[in-house]
Structure formats: structure tokens, C-alpha cells
Symmetry: C2
Subunit: 589 residues, 2 copies
């Protein structure tokens, strides 16, 4: 194995071209095996494998600085920079992050997981270098799919006038997670078709020196090009045409599916079982079904995604069936929010489906373009809640983000019926900008249609009346509140009141005031950070009264792949720990 | 007067070209007179006056939809759409908004004041039109300065693939508020120099049909071009070259100064007094002086702006003196935050100066690119606080926005010495991402240097010890807390404890716990909305204790040019009203 000889990027320089090619084959096999067991990003990593070898052959990391945009293409980089054991030793598989991680290695410069960030970060490194009169190469690696993000475009516009060394590798695999969307991609195609010679060139128009490598999976070609642009003093684009999933037939043939896979997917696709698994209903399928149903009677309902259709269940069949009533704007959450505002003002019924971690990219558009204008569009926020995910993808911040914007109505359904009723209401009403926190967790159905009029704002639902203690369980954590209620009865003989607030954006003053008569303590439970969240509003409401308030939720911190069970203990979020805290307060009262 | 005949845009169609030209002269004179009295945007409005007449001559608003990006160029539009009296009658001057306002007229489609939003909003209108099989023109008017904002670039990328009518007027006056920055502008210059014929064309690369009008202040040329592109079904750019401040010599010659002016500026510039007013020190001049001082000993300190240098006192002299240690990235707050993160990681000492309302455009970059990476960059947040400004520019939301992001340290100085000490500390430390809320209001100096070690996080300062009531006055509102203390002594004989928290991002648990012994009530005062803000953290902290908490600050709402005095009464923020609320709580206790 060639890989055995590689402990540092500098070891690559001693290899022959043939050995480097063999190394790529070895690494590909290891990567596929590893990802099939752990899950992870297949397509981006396989597509950029050869380029990574070429980069580390030509440049001298960490003296030269390589910034990976999104960094879901950094596995090969990790293998070549002292971390190969995490890919070869199955017992260590879970110990390595799927994204660049400065904690792991000096070769990783930033913890990154959101797209379109790399060019700006690299431009900053280059500027700092110039201010300090240092000399090294700064390289940013950015995928074509990331180019449509506003931050990337802003970065390109500034990188090109840096006046010194910056090399931006545009890894063009003709794909975002799904297909690319936007006018820019016509120009990338033109550039590919003309072997980079077309006069009309987006990158040149942005002010860059431009180079093209037709076979971006060819180590020799890439090495030659990187040698050419190394140490130059002109902001430079190296546009390389790569194949997503290169070298793994099933990934090359199913590019969207193999962008990121669940464990076992490669094996399963290569040896499909005769009976496909029956999918049980979940909130994603409910949403998809709701859209298809709406489409039958309303030609103005439109499902919008910003480059992550699969994450919200908008698979190719759905997209095809929705036709003009589906829109993928590409990775550009700012535009997505602004344009659904425009659509809503124009009389359509747009719904933008987006992950909690990515709605963060459009705070100002939610505030200015949408809520200030009371445009009746709907934002469907997926994956909102505490989780064991990477720090870059945790969805714990959307309540503080959205719920403190004036005019926004942020709804938190607790089961399928409520969620459906909220979708129906939001699509019908014309007064408010609405966000719905799509339940994240087990699918819960009551079997009883929800007939609530959500036009009566901030009316909480008392699900079970009790006394002494009131439990307000928000969205995903409503069922937890129910468990707490039961345990509180068993352990302390207290019949607590159980409340489903439904609205995250306001307090039900009448209800909260009425609790004062027969309750000593109000407990809030929310699936997200406490700072700036729902519970604090309740605490402020009761601040000047005798009512005690206990808020349960996450602490203000970036958790990085910390298992959820561990977080629940850390934050006192198990029913047992909650009861304990409640009893402490009641004893003191 | 021709203007007398114009009550609706349709009246324009009856005019001869000569009359339209005369109308432009009349309107210019009226506009200059009005703006010189009230203050407002001069350059953008004068530059787009002729184009506005041409637009309303050719298109049929409100059937055709015109969306103004930023909308600081909409005065002529307002005069032509039934609102001329607000420009001719001095007694009505203050009744009209300086931005498009749907409340005022059906010809105004969105309330807008942030840049780079228009293309996306217009694209949404067009998409809604297409879904409903309607037929009209959608026109977006966007300045060249706005083009570098990520949202605008995202919008262009999507507008070009709309597949139907959308006309984007690029109003190229060769200026942002100050000079333009970024590689894109080289291409705009090339297009101007080649009369729009250059092969390498940013807009064509983005997928648009492209037209150029060399004299964008010529009504005949503009009218001809608009007629040509009207009712076509292809996404189209009309790039018009205009002169900022056109027709007002002093504005043409001082473009940056005359972007937006204070009342009286035109008169003053045309008849300068012999003795220039002496500028008294303020927080802006303090900051500028601090940078110039730092530069003498540290070549890595760098002042960054995103297209609003004047708003933070970075005037041409300062920029020149800072040299490479000043950077204007253009209007692109996302890039600004990400790139200062990169600079800080690279060993430089960047400080990004930005208005509160515009830092909203980079939440995700603050969270992911900056704070997650603990990059030791500094964000200087100006104009943070309640104000009588337009809803689009109120700076009441930055505390909830920034202070709930993990790892961020958000500091709120209350006087010049503290602010300077915080600048010094932040520039020196290498562990934290820091934001400083630059005091907004009267310049306060104690004369005593602040020697606090801000590396000890979340330590509040007890300024005066008392009992029963503790007043926590945040940043701009610290002096108000001091007034409340005095009044409380006078009116109720209570010697309240006075606290300056300094840190917005955490609670001083030791101090807050210690207050429990001798205090019944903690009062927080903050200059911003309460929802998600500082006071709620204090309320949550004391939630399960006997301590009462009263939070004072703004309500969650978009206030639009509501005078500050009125807001102070609405929110119970005068010392008298605060005392009243305190006494009510104490009586109930």
C-alpha cells in the first residue's frame, strides 16, 4: 500500500505519478468502505480525491493555507494530513469529524459546514498575510453548487481585487446536492464546452485570472496546473471539471442520492433486496403529501427549496409532479426568503422548506423583506431542536432567531394533526408572515383533526388542567412535558397543568395570569437553546409576580457531535432530572 | 408648472418630450429645496429623476410593478404617483417616508430600506404572476452599489432563469455611498467604456439579455429603451449610466457627501460660512482617533467597512491615512464578517464597523464563520438602540441577534473611557470573537481611565451599593438607571444599587445571587427590544427565586419614524414612569 508511506503531505512529493494514481485507488476503496459503514458525504469526497492529492503534492500545507468551502470534500485531505487511521481502523471511524476541524489538525484552518464561506475566509487569511508581509499561498476550494450563495459571490467580488496571491479552485461537478439552478450555470457549461476559452466568462467578469482543467480527476493535469499558478501574485481561478462520485459506479450513476448517504447505502444499492422497505409516515412525507394534495385545487401553492430538496423530502418524483409549483433556487437562502415574500405579495402561496441551521443565513430577509412587509409566505423549518449533529448543523437556534422578529408568527406543532392544520391555515391566511417548526422526532398522531383557528394569535392550549405546577411543553418537547406530568403525579402527588403553547412568538397573557390563582410554579420545556428563547419570555412575564418559573432547554453553546442522551443529562432534560429540579423549587417555596 | 398637471403616472403619457424635460427641471428644484430643509438622500434621487419620468411614461404602474431596491431613489416616483404635495407643501414635508411605503400608495409595493433586496422581491412577483397566468411587466430598479450584496447576486442568478418577463434597471452612477469596491466594478467600467458592447459581460454571463443606455439622464434615450424592452418575455438587464446628484452642481462635485445630507447642507455648501463649526468629540471621532493611534505601533490593526464608511466616521482623510489598514469591501456584510474572521485567524487585528440594522445581514457569518471558530475579530456595532428612524433602519434588534450566539462576547460600554478600554482589550486578546455596542447618544466621559480586565467574562460592575432595589442599566441606558436611582431616593427614600453590566452575553451569577440577601427587586433597562434581550436573561436567572424582576426596553415591533419621546412613553422608559412601575411592584410585594 502506498498509503502506508504517507504520514504527512510532504511524503507525497516523493512519489511517482504512477504511485500517486495508485494511491488514489487505495484511498477511494478505503473511503467507500468507511462511508458505507458510518454514512457520510460520498459524491463530493470521491470527486475531489485526485485534486486533493495534486494539491498536497504541489503546495506545502500548513505553510500554504488550504480552506475547504463546506468542507464535505475534505476526507482525502484528512487521510493525507496525519489522520489516515481514522479511515482505516474501524474502531476509530466515529472519532473523526466529517468536516474540517482545527482541533484535529493544523492542516484544518476553520470549523466549517455551511456552504459559500470559503472564499471570504481565505481572502481574510490572504489579507492578514499581506499586512504582515508574509509569503505563502492561500487556496480556497469551492464547489460549483456553493457559488450561488451570496456570501461566495461577495467573496469572489472581493478576492479578485486583493492584489496578491489567492488561488480559488472551483470544483465543478455539474451538481449542487441536487441539480444546479441559476443563470450562472449556463456560463459554467459554456466554459466547459469551450474548454475554458469562451470570451464571456463569469470569473473574468469578476476580475480574475482564469484557468481551466478539463479532466479534474486526472492527477497529472491537476498537478501541472497547480504548479503553474503556485506563488503567483494575481487572484486566480482554477476551474476544474470533476465527476461527482468518481470511481464508484453506483455513485456516479446516482449523484443526488450519493451526495450524502446513510450507513449501508452502497451495499444496499449494489445488492438490492427484492422487497423494498416500506416507508412509515413521518413529518416529511406528511408535508410532501400535503403539497401534492393542495396542488390539485390551488395552482398558486408553491414549494421552494434552497438547494436541499432531499433533506425535506422533495425527491425527484415530487419535483416532477409539482412542476411549476416547485422551485429550487439553489443554495441562496437570502434570495429564497425574499422571493417568497415577493410571491406572497403577488398573490401566490409560497412555502420555503429549509433546515433550521440554514434559515440562519436569512435573518435580515426574514425581518426586512418578509415580516416588515407582512407578506403571507410560510417558512417550514426542519430539524429544529437539540441533536447529536456536528456543531455546524445543530438546529438549536431557530427559536431565538425567528421568534424575536416583529410580525413573524412562529408556530410549533406537537403532532401530525396540528401540523396539518397549521399548514392549512397558513396557506389560506393573507395577513401574516408565518414560520412553522416542523416536528423533529417521532411521528405522533392523535387521530383527531385539529380545528384550532390559528388566526387567534398567541392562544395557548390547556391540554389538562391541574394545579400547583403548570408545564408548558413546546413543540417537540410537548410529549416530554406529558411524561413529566405523569411522573410528577407518581412521585409527588401533584396534578400538574399541561399546556401546549403552539405559538412561539408571543405570550398568552390571559392564560398566564389565570394560572396565578392556583399555581406556584410554571415550567417551560423547549427543544433549543434557552437564551433568547421561549422560556425567557415566560420568565419575564412573571418577573414581577410571585409565580416561580423554571426554564428547561439547551445551554448557549455549540455542541459538536455530543450524543443527545448526554445533552439531555447535561441540560437536566430527562423527566427524572426535571422532577428533581421542580421539587427543589417547591421545597424552597 | 408642468407638475401641476401630473396627478397620476398616466398623465405623463400626454406630455411632449420637451414638457417631460421641463418637468424634470421643476421636480429637481422642488426636490433640492425639500431635501435641504428636511435632510435626506440627494444624490440617488437626483440621479434617477429622468429615469423615473421615463419609467412612468412607458410602463403602467400599478398594473406594471416597479420595485425600487433600497428605495432611496424613489422621491421622484412618489411625486409622480399622487404624492407631490408632500414635496411642495412645507407643512407636509415630514409626513412622507423617505423610502417606498405601501401604506402611502398602491404604487409602492414593499417597505424597503436595506440594499440588494429588489431583484429577489421582483423575481417573486414575477413568479406569482406566471403561476396565475397574468400578464404585466415586473421592473426592478437597482443601483450599482447594491450589486455587491449577496442577496442581489443571488437574485440576479435566479431572475435570469425565470423564463419570462422581468426587467432589471441597473442604475450605474459609478458610486456606492462612497466609492465602489470589488472586481465586478471593473466589468461595469469596461461596459461603460465600450458602450455596452464588451464581449466579457457580467450580466450576460449571469444569463441575461443585456442593453446599455450611455446617457441615463436623458429622458428620450431612456424612453426609447424602455419601450424596446417592455412586454418582452426574456429576463433583461437595462444598464443605464447616470450621474449621481445630476443637475445640482455641488452634489455632482461632492458625491459621497451628498449621498444623504443633514438639513441645511445644500445652503451651507453653496454659501459656506467663514468659520467652520468646531466638532466636539463623540464616539465616532473617538473610534477614528483610536484607529489612527493604533496604526502607529501595530501594522495588523485594520478598520473594515461594508460600504458605509461615512456612517462610522471613516471619511476620505481617515481612509487615506489608514492606507492598507483600511478596507471597504462594498455592501456585503456577510463577506465582511467572514473575512475579518479569516484575518483574525491569520494573525491580524480586524475591526468591522457596521450599523446595528446592517449587522442583521450576517447572523450566520457571526455564528458559523466567526464565533464557532472563536476568531479574535471585533465587530463595532453603531447606532444600536431605540430611535425615531425609519422601520428599515431602527437599531433595536442587535442585542437579541448577537448576544444569543454562543462564544460571542458582546460588550456595552457606558462612557468614553470604558469604550476605549474595551477597544484596547479586544485588539489585544486572541481568545474571543467580540462585538462592542458603540454608545449611541450623548458623549459621556468620566476623566478616569477604565482599568477593568475584560478578559474576566461576565463580571458586572456595582457602581453604587444600596438595598431593596437593584438597577441594572445596560450601555446607553446606564445613565438613565442613574437618574432612576436618584428619583427613587427622592420620591421613595430608597437607596437603590446601581449596576453597570458591561457584558450582554452572560449573567454574573455571583453578583446576582448576592443581591438576594438585601434586595427584593431587580430592574433592567436596555436600549433595544426586550424579546430575546438582556433583561430576559436576568428574569430567567431569578425565575425560581423570590427576587422580583422588572425589565424595561422596547416592545417587539417595527416602529416607523415614531419620535423617541413618544416611544419612551409608550414603553414606560422615562424615569418617572419607571419609578411608578417599581413602586407598583414594591407595594404588591
Amino acid at each position: 500500500m502506498i498509503l502506508e508511506k504517507i504520514n504527512n503531505p510532504s511524503d507525497l512529493k516523493k512519489l511517482t505519478l504512477a504511485e500517486r494514481n495508485q494511491l488514489a485507488d487505495e484511498m477511494r476503496e478505503i473511503l467507500v468502505h468507511k462511508i458505507d459503514i458510518t454514512g457520510g458525504h460520498v459524491g463530493p469526497n470521491l470527486g475531489f480525491l485526485e485534486a486533493t492529492i495534486a494539491l498536497h503534492t504541489v503546495f506545502n500545507s500548513p505553510q500554504d493555507k488550504i480552506v475547504f468551502d463546506v468542507s464535505h470534500q475534505c476526507y482525502a485531505h484528512k487521510m493525507l494530513t496525519g489522520r489516515k487511521k481514522y479511515f482505516t481502523d474501524e474502531s476509530l471511524y466515529e472519532e473523526i469529524s466529517g468536516f474540517t476541524a482545527p482541533k484535529e489538525s493544523v492542516h484544518d484552518l476553520f470549523q466549517i459546514g455551511h456552504t459559500s464561506t470559503g472564499v471570504s475566509l481565505a481572502t481574510g487569511l490572504a489579507k492578514a498575510r499581506d499586512l504582515q508581509h508574509q509569503k505563502f499561498n492561500v487556496i480556497a476550494v469551492v464547489g460549483d453548487g456553493s457559488l450561488t450563495g451570496g456570501e461566495a459571490l461577495e467573496g469572489l467580488d472581493n478576492a479578485s481585487v486583493l492584489g496578491s496571491n489567492i488561488i480559488i479552485i472551483v470544483n465543478d461537478n455539474e451538481m449542487s446536492i441536487a441539480e444546479n439552478h441559476g443563470g450562472l450555470y449556463q456560463n459554467l457549461r459554456l466554459l466547459r464546452e469551450t474548454n475554458g476559452t469562451a470570451e464571456n466568462n463569469f470569473f473574468k467578469a469578476m476580475g480574475f485570472e482564469y484557468h481551466y482543467v478539463a479532466n479534474g480527476n486526472n492527477i497529472a493535469d491537476l498537478t501541472e496546473m497547480f504548479e503553474k499558478v503556485k506563488d503567483t501574485n494575481v487572484p486566480t481561478i482554477v476551474h476544474i471539471h470533476t465527476l461527482k462520485g468518481h470511481g464508484l459506479k453506483v455513485a456516479e450513476e446516482n449523484k443526488e442520492l450519493f451526495h450524502w448517504i446513510m450507513p449501508g447505502t452502497v451495499t444496499q444499492m449494489q445488492h438490492p433486496s427484492s422487497t423494498p422497505a416500506v416507508q412509515s409516515p413521518d413529518y416529511t412525507s406528511l408535508t410532501v403529501d400535503w403539497f401534492l394534495q393542495q396542488k390539485k385545487t390551488d395552482s398558486t401553492v408553491i414549494a421552494v427549496t434552497a438547494g436541499t430538496p432531499g433533506a425535506t423530502g422533495f425527491f425527484p418524483d415530487f419535483r416532477k409532479e409539482m412542476g411549476a409549483q416547485f422551485l429550487d433556487v439553489g443554495i441562496c437562502e437570502q434570495h429564497a426568503v425574499a422571493t417568497v415574500s415577493g410571491m406572497a405579495k403577488g398573490g401566490a402561496k409560497p412555502m420555503f422548506a429549509v433546515l433550521s441551521t440554514f434559515i440562519q443565513r436569512s435573518y435580515d430577509q426574514l425581518a426586512q423583506d418578509l415580516a416588515l412587509n407582512n407578506s403571507p409566505a410560510t417558512i417550514l423549518v426542519y430539524w429544529g431542536g437539540l441533536s447529536g449533529m456536528d456543531a455546524t448543523h445543530v438546529g438549536a437556534f431557530d427559536i431565538p432567531l425567528i421568534a424575536n422578529i416583529p410580525n413573524m408568527i412562529y408556530l410549533a406543532p406537537t403532532n401530525a394533526e396540528e401540523y396539518r392544520a397549521m399548514l392549512d391555515w397558513s396557506a389560506k391566511q393573507t395577513q401574516h408572515s408565518v414560520a412553522i417548526r416542523v416536528p423533529f422526532g417521532p411521528f405522533i398522531t392523535t387521530g383527531i383533526p385539529d380545528t384550532t383557528d390559528y388566526g387567534i394569535l398567541n392562544r395557548y392550549q390547556v391540554v389538562e388542567e391541574g394545579s400547583k405546577v403548570a408545564l408548558i411543553g413546546v413543540g417537540n418537547f410537548f410529549e416530554r412535558a406529558r411524561e413529566v406530568k405523569q411522573l410528577l403525579k407518581e412521585k409527588a402527588g401533584i396534578s400538574a397543568t399541561l399546556i401546549n403553547p403552539k405559538f412561539l412568538t408571543g405570550v398568552d397573557a390571559d392564560l398566564l395570569n389565570s394560572l396565578k390563582k392556583t399555581h406556584q410554579l410554571v415550567v417551560t420545556l423547549e427543544d433549543g437553546v434557552l437564551d433568547g428563547g421561549f422560556g425567557e419570555k415566560i420568565a419575564r412575564f412573571y418577573g414581577a409576580s410571585d409565580m416561580k418559573v423554571l426554564c428547561f432547554g439547551g445551554q448557549k453553546e455549540f455542541t459538536d457531535r455530543v450524543p443527545l442522551d448526554e445533552l439531555f443529562i447535561r441540560y437536566h432534560l430527562t423527566p427524572e432530572l426535571i422532577i428533581k429540579d421542580i421539587q427543589t423549587v417547591l421545597k424552597g417555596a
